[in-house]
Symmetry: C2
Subunit: 397 residues, 2 copies
């Protein structure tokens, strides 16, 4: 049985713990990464709160604690198609997991340069991968990390289904017929837009070439450690707290640790979907095990376990830590308030037992943020990326 898996973007916040989890589960893991996330830290003059190690140290540590070897190839898959193809042809993987995209919405909105980098990097990476899978002639399952943000955060008065929506259409004859369509997209940033464009590539290569794809529409990830990353200090996962890459819950926890007020954008009435990093890696294992069959359309799972309003999260953390809450002008162009009801029956049906905010794992995060709080640079906490001219001018009032 083929147990080879290539993890594209295996050095990142989700990619690294996923690589370790799959290695621990007996897969032969090959990481591909151009280390762009570390380069972006250099550009933004910030760093992971946790002291992450260079890739060779990470891999040595994993071999020490697990006896298992993970291969690493430094390839920019958005540019070096030939290297990617050669690797796929020589490894002949069962699955390729695609995390190799710029994943921050605020970063994608910082300037025209950042918009262009995100579009160029994300779309060429996805197309290069799909094109290489077709050219290899191998029957490879592609698992892609998408985002809940493809759906937008509007309230249509209905639970958001897993990717496909049944609508009724009136034919010219007056007859009403049902059609199943990809859920109409409503991206909230250039980053989210690229994920809606990725969807169209998956649908096309699936239809034309029969490429088997699972697209995971993930919520906001919180937490930092997983069972595997905890095994050795050198395996520690990255933890972002800056205004661009710090996801909301993790950012609040750092703010609490350094006695910085919890900064809530607008009214904090935005409802978002969440998932713990430990569940992320479990979901990916489930996605691998439940691959679509030959000829099956793209499988879409909603990879999230609970929804919360941002201000409720702030209140919760304020209650635990005693931190103040500060409402600030929202740099994003979005509605102040929204509801969000999401179906996540696929993962629950496949046995996922979700970790929720009630499960005390927040305390683990609080401990880590306290342990490394001296590494933080408070000036990096505010979000300085504005969605457009109007949002920028509102912020300066």
């Amino acid at each position: 049985m083929n147990k080879k898996i290539i993890v594209l973007g295996g050095d990142g916040f989700c990619g690294w713990p996923t690589s370790l989890h799959l290695s621990a589960q007996g897969y032969e893991v090959i990481i591909v990464d151009n280390l762009s996330r570390r380069d972006i830290d250099n550009e933004l003059e910030t760093n992971s709160l946790t002291p992450i190690k260079p890739m060779n140290v990470r891999l040595k540590a994993w071999q020490d604690v697990s006896g298992r070897k993970i291969d690493f190839h430094n390839i920019d898959i958005s540019k070096n198609y030939d290297e990617l193809l050669k690797l796929i042809e020589s490894v002949e993987p069962k699955t390729v997991i695609h995390f190799a995209e710029q994943r921050s919405a605020p970063y994608s909105m910082k300037s025209s340069k950042h918009k262009r980098y995100t579009v160029n990097n994300n779309l060429n990476s996805t197309n290069n991968l799909l094109s290489a899978v077709v050219e290899s002639g191998l029957d490879i399952h592609v698992v892609h990390l998408g985002t809940m943000g493809v759906y937008g955060y509007g309230t249509a008065g209905m639970k958001i289904p897993e990717g496909y929506l049944t609508v009724m259409l009136e034919k010219d004859s007056g007859e009403v017929v049902e059609h199943e369509i990809l859920y109409p997209v409503n991206p909230g940033s250039i980053y989210h837009m690229t994920k809606t464009q990725d969807q169209l590539m998956f649908a096309y290569y699936n239809k034309n070439d029969g490429v088997r794809v699972t697209d995971l529409h993930q919520g906001i990830v919180w937490g930092t450690q997983t069972e595997e990353t905890k095994k050795d200090g050198r395996l520690i996962n990255r933890f972002d707290y800056d205004g661009d890459y710090g996801t909301v819950l993790n950012r609040f926890l750092v703010q609490a640790a350094v006695n910085y007020p919890l900064t809530v954008h607008g009214t904090g009435g935005q409802t978002r979907a969440f998932i713990h990093i430990q569940d992320t890696v479990r979901c990916i294992k489930i996605a691998i095990d439940t691959a679509p069959k030959k000829g099956e359309r793209v499988k879409i799972y909603n990879q999230m376990t609970e929804t919360h309003k941002v201000r409720d999260l702030a209140r919760l953390i304020s209650k635990i830590t005693g931190s103040a809450i500060e409402l600030i002008s929202n740099p994003r162009k979005e509605d102040d308030e929204n509801e969000l009801h999401v179906s996540n029956e696929s993962f629950l049906g496949h046995g996922l037992e979700p970790i929720t905010l009630k499960d005390n794992l927040m305390e683990e995060v609080v401990e880590i943020t306290k342990k490394y709080s001296e590494r933080s640079d408070l000036s990096k906490i505010p979000c300085n990326s504005y969605w457009n001219k109007e949002q920028k001018s509102k912020a300066s009032i």
Copy 2:
């Protein structure tokens, strides 16, 4: 009143006659083109059937016959963002017309290299343009040449509307509500896929930054000359007859001129939408004149005037010219037969009086193909681009 218009891709089959038409209408036209279409002729070892002139000769001829000057800038807008931005900032155009995309479906399917070129070129061009419009801070109307192919050619039992579709949704409460959505896409090639991805960029930049956009979903263009290109031999428009770039009706007319059987793919039961090149340039003028207002969503027009089955076109031309018809294996992955009913009320409502196949303009094309038939290379007529492994193996039987 600002009469400045930048035409991106102004050296191509639609871009060149559009540039002349707008110049003749009193606009100050600035052409941007990297001459990639001529380079692709070199790559494919083919050429326009008509002897098109270098850009400087074309522009000199236009000045001679019209007294009007058109500026030209050789810029690859998919790569040279800074040059594009600088040009937009210095010209301050009222409108930018965006033809700067690789526009052949078979070319986009030739190999993984051609898939990757099409995705990289088309998506970065569109994003660079939109990003530059936002960065310039100018209120510019973007007119984009899209394709009827974004809708796919399925039969939903209804007329294809102009971009937006009203569907009924059942809410969780059981109540049925109407929503208007972008018509669900179903692209038939990598090329068509990039146009469905373009749509998502237009929708996003329109929503986030208020960029005013008109997206023209054009049918298959036939004919070659317009009122302006006929004025001087040096202004002649390109005419493609090769298997990759030759559109079906024009290709049949060349085949007839050189006594080559009219090659019909599959059963020829594919119904397609058509428009004459003279109507293309008139439609673009109408799109400029009916620009969306500030705050208006993306305007979508179906730019086509009639639909025909491919085999009916072949019969029609066979009747006029006496040519034989040959059915060959279809290199495309598509249904053998489809119906197509399309709404084109916007252009008709704005006064377009369509040129149809009945209007004897086919004879003009027949004359041109006869006049230049010695320039043709018969070996370039068959389509050697296959949509996937299966189509290729069918063709070799």
